[in-house]
Symmetry: D3
Subunit: 288 residues, 6 copies
């Protein structure tokens, strides 16, 4: 990525080779999401998806929070300025639907990005912040993060990820539904207990460091193998076991012809025979 694109609500950097760090950059609003952020997020992740030099992504919030969710001012503006001009209920509803679909497309771009995305969460992870984290592959959290599935408290059912993707990976549905129906806050421990969070770290710095470090490990692996794994995992989320096997056999029919396997097998043999664990991590793989 010779020149990183610039956004107003996002800040991009490259803390390690092949690793892109994406920071939500509205810290004065605790990274509340407005239309610009939704738009830039989509452009950013679609661009990273085809950026050869990017192999793993860390998504975090600048300042004191991951994100406090949708910016209420944005919501109110839509309500007054856009819907106010439409009289017919059906036409209003169709307008609202377009708006929802546009927001869904924004957050889904994270889920659809074929490179692994690690969320580094701290401070507050509220409402659409949870939806956004649900679109990531892996979620790390600072110990003192405050979570809340806030939507019910502002009178709506979550529609950009929390009720759509999270149920596919949640561990204790009793507690999850309790959190959904009550909007009460919960901490990292409970988040981990229901399978929302993978690991907990003591500080914001530790979360970010661990996430970047993990991204760096992933970025040194064969991108053919890593991205193929994500594509197959996302596929498996929504298909039957039979379908998963069928898709995997079509997918790997060409992928098994990669040179990366030869490199991998050789390094693996070396590392096994000589207890030289570094052999694997020293292989260099070509970009895709």
């Amino acid at each position: 990525m010779s020149s990183l694109p610039t956004y107003e609500t996002l800040k991009l950097s490259q803390p390690k080779p092949h690793v892109t760090l994406v920071e939500l950059n509205r810290s004065s609003k605790l990274n509340a999401m407005n239309k610009q952020l939704f738009d830039e997020l989509k452009v950013c992740f679609e661009q990273l998806n085809t950026e050869k030099s990017c192999r793993a992504i860390v998504l975090t919030g600048s300042g004191k929070a991951f994100s406090t969710g949708i910016d209420v001012k944005y919501l109110s503006g839509v309500s007054v300025n856009e819907l106010g001009e439409i009289d017919d209920v059906a036409r209003k509803a169709l307008h609202v639907r377009r708006m929802i679909q546009s927001t869904q497309a924004s957050l889904r771009s994270v889920d659809k990005c074929e490179k692994p995305v690690i969320a580094a969460i701290h401070g507050h992870c509220i409402g659409a912040g949870v939806d956004l984290s649900a679109c990531c592959d892996i979620r790390y959290s600072a110990r003192d993060t405050t979570f809340s599935i806030k939507e019910v408290d502002i009178g709506l059912a979550a529609d950009v990820g929390t009720l759509q993707i999270l149920p596919k990976s949640i561990t204790n549905h009793s507690i999850f539904r309790e959190l959904v129906y009550t909007s009460r806050t919960f901490n990292s421990d409970e988040a981990q207990q229901i399978g929302l969070i993978g690991r907990i770290f003591d500080t914001r710095e530790a979360v970010l460091e661990a996430a970047i470090s993990l991204a760096s490990v992933i970025a040194r692996k064969s991108p053919v193998a890593v991205q193929g794994s994500k594509i197959n995992l996302n596929y498996a989320r929504d298909h039957t076991v039979d379908d998963n096997f069928l898709f995997a056999s079509a997918w790997n029919s060409s992928m098994l012809m990669t040179e990366d396997i030869i490199k991998g097998v050789m390094a693996s043999a070396v590392s096994k025979d000589k207890s030289n664990k570094d052999a694997i991590s020293e292989i260099k793989f070509e970009d895709i």
Copy 2:
């Protein structure tokens, strides 16, 4: 609910505004389920589904147990009286199928009820008792409850919920299959470990109090938001991520026009600005 309907095998009360407590009322039989109970359960939950004043439901067992499952006398009666009169195996099988489908419809009425249902479990939760609890949104249990997926021990594969709904929310399938194949008893801790139970409380009273208290919190939230959340969560259980987003956009196209959002956003703003946490819980929402 000006006048609560009366049933023989169920007891209804209203411990808090908008909260309905449904007690299985065959305590002398440890709430074993017979045809009358199956029939009344269906009528009851279909009625609660459209009862405006009911916004959250607690389901519990009177006396010493949640439920010990299907009443063996009922089973035997069917076998002798109804099947005994039919000679042809296929016709017997079609008769049995109708009976199973009727029992399934009874327990599914709890799952299909669009208001959240919290199971408060104590004493024994055996066989069809587990199936019934599987149809609830949230499961709380007393510490000394005895659980058993009893069906294999009486020679059959569970067909009214345990093998049909539970696999969608179970955490450790190794242990779950062990429990299914052996019918051994297990306690609340293990039930929580496999994701069957959300929370454990020390006594029967504590379970019930916590369940009613949770129901009361839910009942004070916007019913548009809560019931919309349940409808979307139940939908998500059986659909792909793409489908979930599509359905949510159709659903919320009208729901986002509710007045509840205005109330919710305003209260949320107040509670945030003034650290007045009560603002949210003081909103009054109209019935649906």
Copy 3:
């Protein structure tokens, strides 16, 4: 099973009535899997599927490991000898696809076997070893087992179970994806935490003893009930709740006419009235 069939890469025995112990038998290669093992595994489990006297199966590895995955020599041989002769990329890909599908069919035969299969895991469970364990109903592990989803390290996306079946039962997807994308080793505790392992035992001997003991308990239950449960559980993994209920009603329409229910209900009644817990385990059920 009057005469147990013999295989070269598998060793079969009958440690308890109705229980078959299948040992991977390439201990000198740490049970790495080659073409012969894949072929014999399929024949073996298809045969056990219809073998009347077999009601529960324990799958384990002889020597120091469960399995270290695919035999790299076998992989290299395919690459050099079979693919080397084909010039056209598409024809190579079709050849590779047939090979993948054949390996998938081998491991799926364990998943499709209608008798419960318990994996007793120790030493190393690496790469295709994890895929194989994913095809079992229940997974027990020795405390010091080393696990690794090794595929990414040898340059490929897992295609014989790990990404196809495991996501249906995994608990913490954040950690699971971390393990997939990095190929790092993990121990039994972490394996249990993500829902891969049901129980942990201190030694290899203890694992095997517990697995055989569990198999023996299952083998004494009604095979109509146990196998019906597995068939319905595997069905439920890939279908909607509505479909599950529909299938269960078709399935049980005949199964509820079994004599086993009469035996089960009677024993159950005896054991309840007299606190004679043994009544149930003393029933003798006919083979299927």
Copy 4:
């Protein structure tokens, strides 16, 4: 059916043994459908579903038309009386949804009835009349019937069958979509060309006679075979080929034990050997 139940908007009779004729009975309104008709239709078909003596059903309209669709007075009444009292858009929408689901359940009861239903159509088949016919197994029509998928002309998308069931059996989707988007009328020939109609007859009397005659042929067949076929066909409409085979094997595992097969095979043998075609039609099968 010793005593036929009586309805106000439906008229039931038994023109042949085991055949029930259901006539829409609002001829003064050209069988336009109001709430009472929707309610009675559901009760009627749920009752016929379990009525042993009924094995085939003919559905027709009394007077000059099959049906001209939903009664506009009913629609207007709902709009003014029920929705008029609700202020909030979301609550109105939830009320409308309940109303739609209730109407859907009414028409689906025809589709879900496990006995074959033959629609005998004449005069007008408009709007919800098409939806209703879509819920039948077989559609016969008089030559001069006027059809129209009327919904777009009254400002809505059809929601009780035409867009939900018909696409599963329509032949020429180009023409079908033209009919949907324009609401233009079409005749029996075009209806047959797009696969909506099976056969065309010259007069109303001929349609009805042919439908009753077909019903009578079906009613003399094994009800185990006929109803099993409908259940499997309806299942196949919504499932994969793999699922269809799996379901059929579960279904027939008990059904193949019926005595009807012995009767059928014997009669079939007789009719083949002696060219005695009547042997098959002379078998008497027991009720289910």
Copy 5:
């Protein structure tokens, strides 16, 4: 559409109010599709999808053909210039996949556009031309059009619509598979016989006139009803009957509140009472 956007490979005009005519504009190449055309097609249909004044679209080819399919020069260029630079087979395959997905997204934009699209076909409709027509709602053809599912003849399986969408609406699969496997040419009659074509007209002019006339009729209907119908029909193509009913009830819960129904019902009443057929076509509906 005050000012129509301009494209190089497409020509847009507005032959009737609310009707957009899109002409493929590479007549010197018989409208063979190159990268620019794919790109512009996507932009064009995504733009029309949200263009308020557009309610129906006619898609046709300028000059002597609808389209002769993918431009072979474009294909060759990709092969030499883009793939030539990549050594690794897997990386080549991933590159090819991105290219296919981009082409799929282009043609799918026609299918996903929520306004009805009518293909007016003449001259040649070959290869990707058939795929493109498969993405339209309605297909009209000139009598002397030459069709060919050309892909097999150039060594590939069709991947942008013919094998993906057409099977959902094809009538005679025996003949369809014959056409796919042999690439032989067929005429309009055979195209109509397999359900590919809705209507046949004598000349190119007659096709276009009929298509524009049909589009004009559709454009005068309630856009709430028409677009709702298309959205529900596309949904029904891929979902079960149960799902279709569920989605329709969510969709219409708000759409039934439209003013268009009041207009439609009133006009319908007028047209019925007074035999004034024009009442319906004289209503003016608001844009969406």
Copy 6:
């Protein structure tokens, strides 16, 4: 295929290069199907699936009929000899299920064979004969063939293809259900009208000649393209449009690298420029 394998109930020959003719070879029984035929059919089509030199298959019946369905003697034998020894209804049902699944696997082997299969039908096509033809890609028939979906007449619901695969391709479901529920005979014209038959020929010889001729045309095409098309078409039968596009992009990511495309594109260019239609049919493609 240097040496054709030999079967007792099947006769194989190679009437044209790369074309295999499979004749059902029980002409004295009008090709009624017994256990041996089911077993040999499966072996035969699994073998042809991997036989490099076979690229298209014609399936026909020797003597006076395609097939008159299941051999009643076989059915009776199973009933008396195998089921007679089992007392318990559930165990009988499980035995029956295994038998059904084995027969299903036999006929499915034709559907799963990745080479196109053309049925050449004459004389009688009855019961399981229809199921078998349903598993073929393309169906040609002699004008005087007698068809019957015979299952209902012998007391059962078809379970080996007619109700499982045919509904996916049938044109007029009204007539199809009529044929299913009544078992009445129908001729080639009606078979073509419902989409069962592709083409009709005057004599048995003409059918066979046309089928072989079509097979020969297909066999000269690129097998990469033809078999890829069949695999994608069979996939499309059971998946959504989105899934079809996704699978096609994975499939073609490697297949587009084939040399066959270069040959095809060049021949296509030659045949276009010089009106030399034979260029395409003169290409020689390598075996797969």
